[in-house]
């Protein structure tokens, strides 16, 4: 009887340790996976930042056209946001036609989580609710980005009288992160 009792005790103890250990392992693995996945997102964004060139291509009295060039061809989905200098006002919400991509019609949509860069760190755009962005159409990606050609984004000066910050964004899942940008003044 004594031997059976010891065996039951051992089974109970080992079983308990296994259950606690499995729970602890799951928690730790979840943390590690979360940490590494955020690290991989940082890597992806770092690579995208380093690959993107934004430059002033043409300017007249009514618009400023910026060239956006990806150094290496890639099927990357881009979107563009236009915010006030202090990031507090979504200018595309006020002026839906402020951004144009010559030759195509960018599709406007609202995104809940948009992040901009400040001193190397990402912060959510402090616009209450959704941020309106102009998506760069697939045909532009095929004709320009994948051909290593610069595509154009033009900003109407009527919409940016007090200055504006244009963000070039990439998707990571449903969220958008800044990888390039420009300060626009009328």
């Amino acid at each position: 009887m004594r031997g059976q009792s010891d065996l039951v005790t051992v089974i109970l103890l080992v079983g308990t340790v296994l259950v606690i250990g499995a729970a602890f392992s799951s928690l730790a693995v979840a943390h590690v996976v979360d940490f590494t996945s955020r690290g991989r997102v940082r890597q992806l964004l770092l690579a995208e930042q380093a690959s993107l060139v934004v430059y002033r291509e043409f300017e007249d009295g009514v618009r400023l056209c910026l060239g956006v060039l990806r150094v290496e061809p890639s099927n990357t989905r881009y979107a563009v946001a236009l915010l006030s200098i202090d990031m507090g006002v979504d200018l595309l919400e006020l002026f839906p036609n402020a951004l144009t991509i010559p030759g195509v019609a960018p599709q406007l949509r609202r995104v809940s989580r948009v992040y901009y860069i400040h001193s190397g760190e990402y912060y959510p755009v402090p616009v209450g609710g959704y941020v309106r962005v102009a998506e760069v159409p697939e045909e532009v990606v095929e004709r320009y980005v994948m051909q290593r050609r610069p595509f154009l984004v033009c900003v109407s000066k009527d919409a940016v009288e007090g200055g504006a910050r244009l963000l070039v964004l990439v998707y990571v899942g449903p969220d958008l992160y800044e990888v390039g940008g420009w300060y626009v003044y009328a």
Binding site: L18, Q43, S51, E72, W182
Partner: protein, 379 residues
């Protein structure tokens, strides 16, 4: 059974804890190494791209024989024009117009060069054709800043566009001693030279400046030479170039372009190019001297420094040290404010195989900045 009872649970728990710890450490380690390699690879790729981009040079030249402007590739690499602007609208070229080095054309994709407002290259350079043509014809000026800084910036005939406080001086430091030689060589609205050892500039007019030959090696480019500030010449014919001498374990020559670099804060990348000519004494050969150039952009407490990518060539007694330093402001979040900055180019010379170095002269023959406005210190 006694052995079963003791320590079984502890061993199982310990194995689980150690496994989780190892897994966590391994995951973090691999993430860090992967991040490091990504950063290195992306920086290398971007630097290579910027180097190519900066090498693209398209010039609009007026050809008196043709009586019109031509577009010429004056750079070392082929240039592909992918978009033109004329009539206020962009026109994408299905087939890029490729200009080989040295090639010149009067039309791009069937469009007259003089009609095109702007040509855009595949690497994202923008060239204003019509306004450049008007400039080349001697017509109106002011078509905006040229996308490329020119070489031969030491040509005094170019204009600085007037930064009131801009000037250039040189510090020479041997080993750990204080700078002993200064040569302030510019002051606006006056002829120039010279300086004092306490770094308080004293300027003097130099008569017949236009006749002063600064092209010491006769290659068509005026070098910046270093003179001893204690022997400021009144006459161009009396100028004596500072000989650095021998017996030192290192020499540092610092060229300071004070308040001559204008940054708007919108720059993507700034690249600084330079070329030194170093006269090593008769007995020396270039590989016995180690050259380390460092480029710095500074203003107040803001200071960005980069060791330059350098190539050295030479034969007995002479070394050419040319290179460039890249400041990827945008890509790596080096956000700095707009304003007028100092550009510092330092060349450190130290012995290679020998115990000490023996240098005659150090001359700066070329300096150019791409991505920001660099003012000529000579006017």
């Amino acid at each position: 059974m006694r052995s079963l009872r003791r320590g079984q649970a502890e061993v199982v728990g310990g194995v689980i804890a150690v496994s989780v710890l190892l897994l966590s450490v391994a995951a973090v380690y691999f993430l860090l190494t992967s991040t490091q390699s990504t950063v290195a690879a992306e920086l290398s790729r971007r630097t290579s791209f910027e180097s190519e981009r900066s090498s693209e040079r398209l010039a609009v030249v007026y050809d008196p024989g043709l009586g019109r402007c031509v577009l010429k590739n004056v750079g070392p690499i082929p240039v592909e024009v992918v978009r033109l602007w004329y009539g206020g609208d962009p026109v994408d070229l299905e087939e890029p117009a490729i200009l080989q080095p040295g090639e010149q054309v009067t039309q791009v994709a069937g469009v007259d060069v003089e009609v095109v407002e702007v040509a855009v290259t595949r690497r994202g350079n923008v060239v204003s054709l019509r306004s450049s043509c008007e400039e080349a014809r001697g017509g109106t000026y002011g078509g905006g800043p040229h996308p490329f800084s020119s070489e031969n910036v030491l040509d005094y005939a170019k204009t600085s566009r007037g930064i009131a406080e801009g000037y250039l001086y040189v510090n020479v430091t041997k080993s750990a001693t204080k700078p002993y030689a200064y040569a302030v060589v510019y002051k606006p609205a006056e002829n120039w030279l010279c300086s004092s050892k306490d770094n308080k500039a004293q300027y003097e007019s130099v008569p017949n400046w236009d006749n002063w030959n600064l092209d010491r090696d006769g290659n068509g480019i005026r070098e910046l030479i270093i003179i001893d500030s204690s022997s400021c010449p009144k006459n161009p014919g009396d100028v004596e170039e500072l000989k650095l001498g021998k017996g030192y374990d290192s020499v540092s020559v610092l060229f300071v372009f004070k308040n001559l670099l204008e940054i708007t804060g919108e720059e993507d990348t700034i690249t600084v190019y330079f070329k030194f000519v170093v006269n090593i004494s008769k007995e020396g050969v270039p590989h016995e001297v180690s050259f380390l150039p460092i480029v710095t952009v500074s203003k107040g407490s803001t200071r960005l420094s980069a060791p330059a990518s350098t190539a050295t060539a030479g034969s007995k007694g002479l070394a050419i040290v040319s290179g460039y330093a890249v400041f990827p402001l945008r890509s790596f979040n080096l956000r700095i404010g707009s304003g007028v900055y100092d550009l510092l180019i330092e060349l450190k010379l130290s012995p290679g195989r020998s115990q000490s170095i023996d240098i005659d002269y150090v001359r700066l023959e070329y300096v150019a900045v791409v991505g920001a406005r660099f003012y000529n210190p000579w006017r």
